[in-house]
């Protein structure tokens, strides 16, 4: 037992959860302005690729991050244009974006690097690992909390910043209003479309960054379909967390935990089953959330319909 439930599990949880956290934060921002972004999985994938590309070309992880962020901004803006300006069906755009991401990354993989399947190279510089002294001094968890790659800590900071932004600044109020009652915002003199644009771009950046963690912070390579539907899990986390940053963070941690647990159990249980588990658990949780909410208002069960 102690082989499985040990301190390394915590570390793996953090590392596995981070892409979902970042992606979910982005999805959450988009959702607060009323745009359901299902294309975050594709953004994550493309982010992963461009991070590797930037790092490879310039021999620096910072270049990788910059590449990713610029890509994210473009993708976010693109999503905004199509879903708000052109009033496209968000679902179609999202799924199409995911497909485009898959196709584009494979295409570029073959055309630019001449490989199939995955790309790895010593020229790719991974994200730095940070050792934070005061974190290390915390008993028990210290050695685990410190020594993670950059984006893990960035993600924690971002959870806090997103919360502050949304609930403690005027901009946050405007963002939320543009999702809840855009016409009210417009009549108050603020353009809700502009808010949606801002949120979409932020969403793109965060979703792309989550991919950068996958390819530069977790491993140091890009492989086809690297995102493995984690973008959809992020969407599910946003649903659980009601688009509230701290709650969404917890939901993502839970996913990370189950995923990490699954990997440790691979010695005893076939890998396919452990890979399956997080997805099944997520579905079960979605159902649980709905059931719990039903019980709340008055305790009276609705008559059979």
């Amino acid at each position: 037992m102690s082989e499985i439930f040990n301190i390394l599990l915590v570390q793996n949880t953090l590392r596995t959860a981070t892409p979902v956290v970042l992606c979910a934060l982005g999805c959450l921002m988009s959702d607060q302005v009323g745009i359901m972004n299902i294309g975050v999985d594709g953004m994550m994938l493309m982010g992963a690729f461009f991070a590797v590309l930037g790092s490879y070309l310039f021999g620096s992880w910072l270049a990788g991050i910059l590449f990713t962020m610029i890509l994210g901004m473009l993708l976010g803006y693109f999503y905004y244009v199509f879903s708000v300006k052109f009033k496209s069906d968000e679902f179609i755009i999202g799924v199409a974006l995911n497909i485009l991401a898959g196709g584009l990354t494979v295409f570029l993989l073959r055309t630019l690097f001449g490989v199939k399947g995955s790309f790895s190279s010593p020229r790719i510089v991974p994200l730095p690992t940070l050792h934070i002294p005061w974190l290390e001094s915390i008993p028990v968890l210290g050695p685990i909390l410190s020594g993670n790659t950059l984006l893990v800590y960035v993600s924690w900071l971002l959870v806090f910043l997103c919360w502050v932004l949304l609930y403690k600044t005027p901009l946050g109020f405007h963002l939320r209003a543009s999702g809840q009652a855009p016409e009210a915002l417009r009549a108050s003199g603020v353009n809700p479309d502009r808010m949606k644009r801002i949120a979409s771009v932020l969403c793109g950046v965060l979703a792309a960054l989550s991919g950068a963690h996958l390819s530069l912070g977790y491993l140091t390579m890009f492989s086809e379909n690297m995102s493995a539907s984690r973008g959809y899990v992020a969407v599910a986390c946003v649903i659980f967390g009601g688009s509230n940053p701290p709650r969404v963070f917890l939901a993502a941690l839970l996913f990370g935990f189950i995923d990490a647990l699954g990997m440790r159990l691979q010695k005893y249980i076939p890998s396919d089953i452990t890979s399956m588990a997080p997805y099944v658990v997520t579905v079960v949780m979605m159902v649980a959330v709905v059931l719990l909410k039903r019980r709340k208002p008055s305790g009276i069960k609705p008559a059979a319909q």
Partner: protein, 508 residues
């Protein structure tokens, strides 16, 4: 600026939307310090004109002047507010999840350290504002949980907070009780007299126009027909101008109701969508050939009541009986089979499928009859089409074509579609909710006639409406509802409007 100088001017304003000319060469002056009423039927262009003033749209042609200054080509709500125009919309532009103070502050939030939202300061500012204008509110209440009257108060305060001296009110009394309407009128009179404000009132309620306004402008089909001094006109003249012909509201009732009880509701209770009690032990009875009119301001449980009767909402107590048989726990399909039809209050949400064709909407409920379905399998399009044509001509449904989506029809024609369908089942019981809301006077006539036809033929009708004129015109019996309970029962003729308002707001 001199006393009766124009504070707002519209010069040759035209507004073109795809397919419809909403404002047609309108030239109009509003004078400082007056209460100006703008009347017209739905779709006449009144709201559009005011949206232009407020900068929510840009006119296709013409210019607007506020306090002598023309509006800029980039006129928008911010600029309108800066120029002193405030607007209280018919459908409130409030964020239900924010508090009163947060809503009032929206768009001009006070900042702490230039970055953070200064909640304390805005709470204090709002409290001070309430006192200054005599409109009490709690800044920390969540707007979504306030009553409609209070929500409107938030809207008004929001406009005043920005220093409006021209206040535009779009159909303000549509959702208020008679008492709240009275309060609103007092507020309007007060701010015009004490604070030197100008009020533009958009309405189609001619009684209010006569009571409140100094001048009245009549619009029809986008054109401004005339501007009159209120003291020199009356309701009949205004109605005639609005519609373009004499409108006769003749007596339609023939004969007394029967004595057989058809629909009986006994101590019915139900919860609303939020899980709070909405219907609290309601009992009523409808006899054959009788119209029972349920009077109440929207939001007092009527919606939930009719949904329960139709099987669309589960009850928490009580029974509904039809001709002696308990139909309480049945679903809509079964209840329809037992002979109940319902004209719901929200056309597009419940009464129609906006994207399905007119014919399809007319056919729903009958699609399994042998006439329209061979072996319950094959959909007989030809028969359906002919049936649709028949009904459309009988009910005067005007459309660009019956195979177009029903969402492309006007409000009145959509309502007639629902009526045509529900009436064609020849059900012994009809539940009718807000049948003429948002419908033009011409169509109102038609609908009322059709309802009375059914009554005179022996149908038992439960009529729920917020329109007192309608209720008094059609009902045999009046029942008042307030906060989910019946507060009074009166045969029509034994009570008048003032008294009934008292019962509608909880008096017993």
């Amino acid at each position: 600026m001199s006393e009766n100088a124009p504070i707002v001017r519209f010069e040759h304003i035209s507004m073109q939307f795809p397919g419809v000319l909403a404002n047609d060469n309108v030239t109009l002056e509003i004078r400082k310090g007056e209460v100006f009423a703008l009347v017209g039927e739905n779709g006449a262009g009144k709201s559009t004109l005011m949206n232009l003033l407020y900068g929510l749209q840009k006119p296709t042609l013409g210019r607007i002047e506020i306090k002598g200054k023309p509006t800029s080509p980039h006129h928008d709500p911010t600029r309108a507010m800066a120029m002193g125009v405030g607007m209280v919309h018919q459908h409130f532009k409030l964020v239900p999840g924010f508090t009163v103070a947060q809503n009032i502050a929206l768009g001009m939030e006070p900042k702490k350290h230039k970055l953070f939202y200064d909640q304390k300061r805005i709470n204090a500012e709002v409290t001070e504002l309430c006192e200054r204008f005599g409109l009490p509110l709690n800044p920390q209440d969540t707007v979504g949980e306030l009553s409609v009257g209070l929500q409107q108060r938030v809207e008004i305060l929001k406009a005043l907070h920005r220093g409006a001296d021209v206040l535009v009110l779009d159909e303000p009394t549509a959702v208020l009780t008679p008492q709240e309407t009275e309060e609103l009128f007092q507020v309007i009179r007060r701010i015009v007299a004490e604070k030197e404000m100008t009020v533009i009132l958009i309405t189609h309620k001619l009684g209010e126009v006569m009571r409140l306004s100094d001048r009245v402008g009549v619009m029809r089909r986008g054109k401004l027909l005339d501007v009159l001094n209120t003291s020199e006109t009356d309701e009949r003249k205004l109605a005639a101008l609005m519609v373009g012909r004499e409108v006769l509201f003749s007596e339609l009732r023939e004969g007394a109701p029967g004595t057989r009880e058809v629909l009986s509701v006994d101590r019915l209770s139900a919860l609303d969508d939020r899980g709070l009690p909405a219907v609290k032990g309601i009992s009523l009875t409808v006899h054959e050939g009788e119209i029972v009119g349920v009077c109440g301001v929207e939001g007092n449980g009527q919606t939930e009541l009719t949904e329960c009767i139709m099987g669309m909402r589960p009850q928490t107590g009580g029974t509904v009986t039809l001709n002696g048989r308990n139909i309480s726990r049945l679903d809509p399909r079964q209840i329809r089979a037992m002979g109940v039809s319902w004209i719901p209050e929200d056309r597009l949400r419940t009464g129609l499928s906006a994207q399905a064709t007119v014919t399809e909407n007319l056919l729903v409920g009958k699609q399994r009859l042998p006439e329209f379905s061979r072996f319950s399998l094959h959909y007989r399009k030809g028969n359906a089409r002919r049936y649709g044509e028949k009904l459309a001509s009988e009910f005067d449904i005007r459309s660009g074509g019956l195979e177009l989506p029903v969402g492309s029809l006007s409000g009145g024609n959509m309502q007639k579609t629902i009526l045509a369908r529900e009436f064609s089942f020849d059900s012994p019981v009809l539940v009718i909710s807000q049948p003429t809301r948002g419908v033009d006077i011409g169509a109102i006539e038609f609908i009322h006639e059709k309802i009375m036809e059914k009554r005179n033929a022996g149908c038992a009708i439960l009529l729920v409406s917020a329109d007192l004129d309608e209720l008094f015109r059609l009902s045999d019996q009046l029942v008042t509802i307030y906060e989910g309970q019946i507060t009074g029962r009166f045969p029509n003729g034994e009570i008048d409007r003032e008294e009934i308002g008292y019962y509608m707001t909880g008096g017993r």
